[in-house]
Every structure is written in structure tokens, then in C-alpha cells.
Symmetry: C2
Subunit: 112 residues, 2 copies
């Protein structure tokens, strides 16, 4: 294995008490925003709808606000949108992880 093939991976979680909001929920939210449907988002990610529902609920519980609304269509495909708070939080998280990732890439080249 050549040294230049070494890679790093950052997983960022945001939380109050339980580390429930992470890359999985963020990806679901990004896809919901794009596709307007949670079931379409889960299909795209190859994630079971029940699992998606569970990780979203756990993240919402910890954060104290709803991330998306109108999911009642379930696997039949109801329209889903991000809440205002959810959209703002996702934007901040995306910006945060992007900046951290870019900084890490720079430092990685120098350290390893």
C-alpha cells in the first residue's frame, strides 16, 4: 500500500445529550430538500424507511425541534419538507463540516 493512498474520514455529530444528529440524518435531509419526499430520500440512500424514521425521530428528540414535516404519507410517498428550523440547522451543519473537512485536508497533507 503506498503511503499516498492513506485517507482520513471525519464523522461529525451535533448534540445536546445524545449524539443522534450526524451524517445519516443530514444526508436524508439534503435529499428530502431535493426530492420533496422522505421515501424518495430513503430509496436514494438504500435505507429502510423505518430506519430513517427512527434516526430522524431520535435526532429531533435530542435537538428539541422537528427537522421535517408532512411525513404522514409514509412509504406510499407523502410530500415531505424541511421545517424552517431544520433547514437552518442543516445549512449550519453543512457549512461547518465543509470548513472542518477543508481544514483537515490541508493539515493532513502536512502531517502525514
Amino acid at each position: 500500500m503506498k503511503k499516498e493512498d492513506l485517507k482520513f474520514h471525519i464523522r461529525m455529530r451535533m448534540y445536546y445529550e445524545e449524539k443522534n444528529f450526524g451524517p445519516g440524518v443530514a444526508s436524508l435531509m439534503t435529499l428530502v430538500k431535493e426530492k420533496g419526499s422522505l421515501s424518495a430520500a430513503t430509496r436514494e440512500m438504500g435505507m429502510a424507511y423505518s430506519k430513517a424514521w427512527k434516526i430522524i425521530k431520535k435526532a429531533e428528540e435530542d435537538l428539541g425541534f422537528s427537522l421535517m414535516e408532512g411525513q404522514s404519507g409514509g412509504s406510499c410517498g407523502g410530500k415531505t419538507i424541511l421545517t424552517k428550523e431544520g433547514e437552518e440547522f442543516l445549512e449550519k451543519y453543512t457549512k461547518f463540516i465543509k470548513e472542518v473537512q477543508a481544514f483537515a485536508e490541508e493539515r493532513f497533507e502536512l502531517i502525514f
Copy 2:
């Protein structure tokens, strides 16, 4: 929950093909360096010796070099030391994660 209680958590993994080297192996190595024994390190972390052995072997397999040596004492408490390559790698990882963490703390304050 007050907004100022929001926290973030970064998990950093280093790898070629399988993301096996992360905070668990790094903590074990740090403790091995301190205590001179893998069994003492696992006791300190409350991790089963067999689990520690397994995650170290998996990380070594991916990285292509040994991280520690002299573990043959097993749970009876043989002396363990980090290999030269292991020690260098741990130092780089520790420096890397420290810098990324410090940068993230700064950005976190500004973004959230």
C-alpha cells in the same frame, strides 16, 4: 435545552481501504505507551481484551504495519510496547485530531 449547550463530536478515522483505525485503537495505544501493558490499557478503558486485540489486528491489517509488539502475555499481563511505526503514527494522528478539533471549536462558535 439552551442553545449554548449544543455540542459537536468529531470521530476521525485513518485508512487505506477499511476504516479500522480510529479513536478506540488510538486510546488503547496511548494507554499502552503509558502503562506498558495492553491488558492494563483495556482494564482502564473497560474494554474486553479480546475486543481490543481484534480492533488492533484489524487496524494493523489495513495500515500494513504492526502498532504494538510483545502482547503475547495476553490477559495475564505481558509487557506491551508500541512499535516505532506505531508510535510515529499515533503521534501524527494525535496532532492531526488536535488541530482539527481546535479549528472546529473556533468555527463552531461562529456558525452555531
